[in-house]
Symmetry: C2
Subunit: 706 residues, 2 copies
């Protein structure tokens, strides 16, 4: 139990870091009145959107909590509520930090690049540490309650409470995060694309020009999509990964309650010590003599990652004792691997994280072939820009797939499915740092918007643009990292599904062999989900952006004073329009991964019996990850590459701003926007929801003798 307390303490330290750093950021000057006014409008719009989004999600949440309580009991319902509320809270805090940091970053960038970087990165770090800290607190406090006051025993195979409650907690987090990711993603890209099309392309005014009625909506989008949505998503990834590791320990290993307690606490303490190394890392983010922003951020990331090695070693030794003892050995134990094997699995997770970061930078950074090839292709027009962007997009999953395959094989050979679970856990242990790098991006993007609208000198905008370009890569990094960890987590979830199946329905022999046509059909239907989901996301953005265009055209037409600068556009009307569109469009696709497993199970069971139904459902879970990995990586890397190809041209290559190549690159960027910020990232929570719903379905069927 001591181990759990230390994990809780680490979570509290993260929260404390968040509070203290918030004070530092808020103490920084907020700029002149015009800047405060603009920032206020963005804040107001973001709060209004998030409020409406949460009210809508709450309706779905209430239905779900009743269902969970009915099928799985009160403890699980509490777990669901904790996951859901904290996921929502993380998004809310992330949004609140960034809407205040943006104007301060703009103000700090008036004096120096380092000043802007410091404020923006610190605000990102607040969100990062709160994501990791609240995630760790949620799961470790709940685990403490379950195994302490509530009196459940870790590893007791006759009592499903702990497992069901942890799965329900994950479900709560996932369900909120898919809505937040998708709703926020639709909002941000509808506003962004709409504002660009009607502002840059039609009216010929620059990005973030205050005359553009959609410009506040665009800046609100950065906060509700790239900050709040991303934070909820990564909170989910954190909680689900740690939770599923603990669940798979409970389902597949056996040992004394004390041994099981230690094993199940290991993911928590690993998460805890890595929060500390991440906090240390945040203090290493400083510009060197080369003024390389990416270099500064990397210093922080690599510090956190390298310090994690000894930290995980110490944590493992302290928790497990002798690392060379065979785990789960002894009375009827299964396992056959050692603590040392688990340590190596976690090293594989860290190495995989490093590899994914590097690969993503290669595909989305302006220094490498992929982005430059898109920039070059822009010279021959819109068509070749998009063709080359799609080529890069299709190419980008290759290396990640290879390194993920190597990691899966390595971890499995060391310690089976549990090894894969610990690999995923150590990846997520770095989440605080990774989110910090990501959440920094939208703050700089907003800072640039405020600088433009408030008419600050050009050098300020140049500084925020430099900070923002790096943000494109770090945003792609988070998404690649999240989906990579999702691949590992999904394999562990599938393992949990098969274990549960054996436990709940021992009389059934479900054939998961590829020779079973129901497995094939399940794989095909599962693989279909990310495609259909992506189609919904793209259509939603296209449609909502179209209505933004129409609204802005109408404002220009009805109020000619806007373009002269003699009268103010009605920003709130556009914000309200995008809000309604985003909330309407997010509902159906978000429910797709909830309903698909249930429908497939019941339809196939009706046609071919329960064994076929379970086989198809299991295969569906893997089908989702098999295609989801490719869809998500190709969209997020491709989108990042398109965006940075535009920035590369804006840096003066191939004719620079205003050239024909630049126009083509703007088209590519527009296409990449919903790819990378709406459809692509939402695939990550989608994969997890599908898997979790399947686990809950099993538990519900078993509990109700179904």
């Amino acid at each position: 139990m001591n181990v759990v307390f230390v994990a809780i303490a680490c979570g509290l330290i993260a929260v404390l870091y968040g509070i203290l750093t918030s004070r530092q950021v808020l103490a920084a000057p907020a700029g002149n009145d015009r800047m405060v006014e603009i920032s206020g409008a963005v804040q107001e719009g973001a709060k209004a959107y998030l409020g409406r989004q949460y009210r809508t999600i709450a309706l779905v949440g209430v239905v779900m909590v009743v269902l969970v309580a009915y099928f799985l009991g009160l403890t699980s319902a509490i777990g669901f509520l904790i996951g859901a509320l904290l996921s929502g809270l993380t998004g809310f805090i992330g949004m609140n930090v960034s809407v205040r940091a943006n104007v301060r970053t703009a103000e700090a960038a008036r004096t120096s690049l380092q000043g802007g970087l410091t404020i923006a990165f610190r605000s990102g770090a607040i969100t990062g540490m709160l994501v990791a800290g609240l995630g760790l607190l949620a799961i470790s406090l709940f685990f403490w309650y379950l195994t302490g006051p509530a009196g459940h025993i870790a590893g007791d195979r006759t009592d499903r409470t702990i497992v069901n409650a942890l799965v329900a907690l994950s479900f709560g987090a996932s369900l909120i995060s898919i809505f937040a990711r998708l709703g926020g993603g639709i909002f941000t890209k509808a506003a962004d694309v709409g504002a660009d099309l009607v502002g840059k392309v039609e009216a010929g005014i620059p990005e973030d020009d205050p005359r553009n009625p959609a410009t506040i909506a665009d800046n609100v989008g950065d906060n509700v999509g790239d900050c709040a949505g991303m934070a909820a998503d990564l909170f989910e990834t954190y909680v689900v990964t740690l939770g599923v590791t603990m669940v798979s320990i409970a389902l597949t290993l056996s040992g004394t309650p004390e041994e099981m307690m230690r094993l199940m606490a290991l993911p928590l303490i690993v998460g805890g010590v890595c929060i500390i190394t991440s906090i240390v890392g945040t203090y290493m983010v400083r510009l060197g003599s080369g003024q390389s922003i990416m270099g500064a951020l990397y210093k922080g990331f690599w510090t956190a990652a390298i310090l994690a090695v000894p930290a995980i070693w110490v944590a493992s030794t302290w928790t497990l004792g002798d690392l060379n003892a065979v785990i789960g050995g002894g009375d009827g134990g299964v396992g056959g691997f050692t603590g040392m094997d688990l340590f190596w699995c976690m090293m594989i997770g860290l190495a995989l994280t490093g590899a994914l970061v590097w690969i993503t930078e290669y595909y989305t950074g302006t220094n490498y072939r992929p982005v430059r090839s898109i920039a070059k292709a822009s010279e021959t027009g819109h068509g070749t820009n998009v063709i080359q962007g799609l080529a890069v997009s299709l190419e980008s999953p290759a290396l990640p797939t290879l390194v993920i395959s190597v990691a899966v094989i390595g971890a499995y050979q060391l310690a089976g499915v549990i090894g894969i679970a610990f690999g995923a856990t150590s990846m997520l242990a770095l989440a605080g740092m990774v989110v910090a790098l990501d959440a920094y991006g939208p703050v700089t993007d907003n800072a640039g918007g405020i600088a433009e609208m408030a008419g600050l000198p050009d050098e300020v905008r140049a500084r925020t643009d430099a900070l923002d370009a790096v943000g494109n890569t770090t945003k792609a990094v988070t998404k690649g990292y999240a989906i990579g960890s999702a691949a590992l987590a999904a394999l562990v979830l599938f393992g949990a599904y098969t274990s549960d199946l054996r436990e709940y329905f021992p009389a059934l022999t479900v054939d998961f062999s590829l020779s079973n046509p129901y497995v094939i059909v399940g794989l095909l239907l599962g693989a279909l989900l990310p495609f259909s989901f992506g189609a919904f996301g793209m259509t939603a953005v296209g449609r909502a952006a179209g209505s933004v265009v129409e609204d802005v055209r109408a404002q220009f037409r009805d109020n000619p004073g806007i373009m002269d600068g003699t009268s103010r556009p009605n920003y709130a009307r556009t914000v309200d329009l995008v809000t309604r569109a985003a909330i309407k469009e997010m509902i159906v696709p978000s429910l797709l991964p909830v309903l698909a497993p249930i429908v497939v199970y019941f339809v196939i069971t009706a046609v071919a019996g329960r064994e076929s139904g379970f086989a198809a459902l299991g295969a569906l879970l893997l089908g989702v990850i098999v295609s989801g990995l490719f869809v998500a990586i190709s969209m997020t890397s491709g989108g990042g590459a398109w965006d940075n190809a535009k920035k590369y041209i804006e840096d003066g290559n191939y004719g620079g701003k205003g050239s024909e190549a630049h126009k083509a690159a703007v088209t590519g960027d527009t296409v990449g926007d919903p790819y990378k910020d709406t459809a692509g990232p939402a695939v990550n929570p989608m994969i997890k929801i599908t898997n979790i719903v399947a686990l809950l379905l099993l538990a519900a069927l078993a509990a109700h003798g179904g």
Copy 2:
């Protein structure tokens, strides 16, 4: 044996139809001198390209035939040669017919729409019937030789000659067809995209303007890509589907030699009678009072499909005798289904074909929501056009996946894997008609080009354009149909793989369960192949189109007389440039599916032993189809929709030709071009090659005690 003779006779009838109809087409007037001259240049370019392509492929072919002979013996090597040579021959004939029919179609369109339709469709029907006829002849004559003069016995489990020879024949056909599809696809789209970018966009001259140096290359491309490449591809699909059905009968059923002979001959006779119904169908293609071109083509298709029902019934009854007798029953027989079950499986195949045709028309026809939504999105610019196109593209695999899943379950419940095989066989039985509808498209496209270059009156171009718009849909139909049948065939091939594994390596227990991480890794690596392959295809087109643009710009610069019309551009130089680029670019991606299974098997075996290696290889085969189905359908339907959205605007909607919406639609069309004509369709032979190479690898390992 009588049944086989009748099948051979049907194949000969198809060839006879081809010869007679060729005479009719060639007897039509070829137009004025200018038209003949242009058509001559296209012919010359197409022949030069095809010659060089075949010489390059021949090098690979010679290496392969030596390897096949060494590992599997002389009979298999002969099979490989037959498949390879006939695949090449089909492409050659297809190209030769279309380069002669194009000018005659243009001439006939001077008098009436019906005249143009007749010539164009007849030339398509020649290619269609030769694809089906030569495919049927290849496989039935070879089967006759093996079971007759060569003395092998159908169903003799101790003699692998028939199975290996049929697999080798399929391999030959597939290998040539992937080169032809990809090389031709790169050629046609590099020329098309390059010509459009530099002609329409930069120089502001219309499509097919004779001043554009790339215009002959563009027209050559239609013949070598959309005709020759498509014909080779569908030949492959035909031969592999029939071959794999026969192989899976030989591997999984047992019975007396006579029973086995009848069962193995059934796919041949089904193919034979459907050639006859397709020939009847071709005579039904006539414009009704509504002048609906699609309606005219559908009359032919539905006639062939509906007549196929009684034809297959009669053929089955004649071949199997009592349709209610249990198949393979009797002495140690396995099976447990009846001839009637097989008949119903074939009906499922026909229904699936009809459903895929309808779905493809929905997604690519100008009368329905998807195409119109892209056209509407063009109003707000290039970006929204591409976003909506990608949304349609991502959405398009949903319905095909659902109907394929239903078909797989239905056929499997009736007669297991053999049922799925017969479903695929009956789909392919309609290949003659489907190819006829497809091959008609590029002829009309070329006819339009010739009309434009020869300065024929506008109404001629209007007629050829109307014919061509329908061609976009029929081309998408063929691809959806081919990939749909590939999904079924791949399942049968996977069944053959597992049967072979049991037979060759009875001591091994290979675990194909989804719980095996090597299966997961295999699925991921397999799913990766279509993405990487697509990336190669898109990059190749982008790069080659870029060099076309540079060549044309150089010609305009060095020879100002071109734009005045006072001097002729150097068409041959552009054709030569595209030829070299296409041949260079096709090699690496074509070898990807040949090498991937071999590399994965040996690497995984080295790391984790042979059982894991075989498991990963098996999963790779299914991974390819699981993602390949989505990649191929999304690319081919999406590309068709983009193309027709442009045509819909050109018909006067959303501002018509020359409007901003039209420019955006041209961008979408450019993006869709390599999607639908290069990367997407080549996924079909790629899936089959991967599977066939795995089967050959097993045979080679077994034969050499590996």
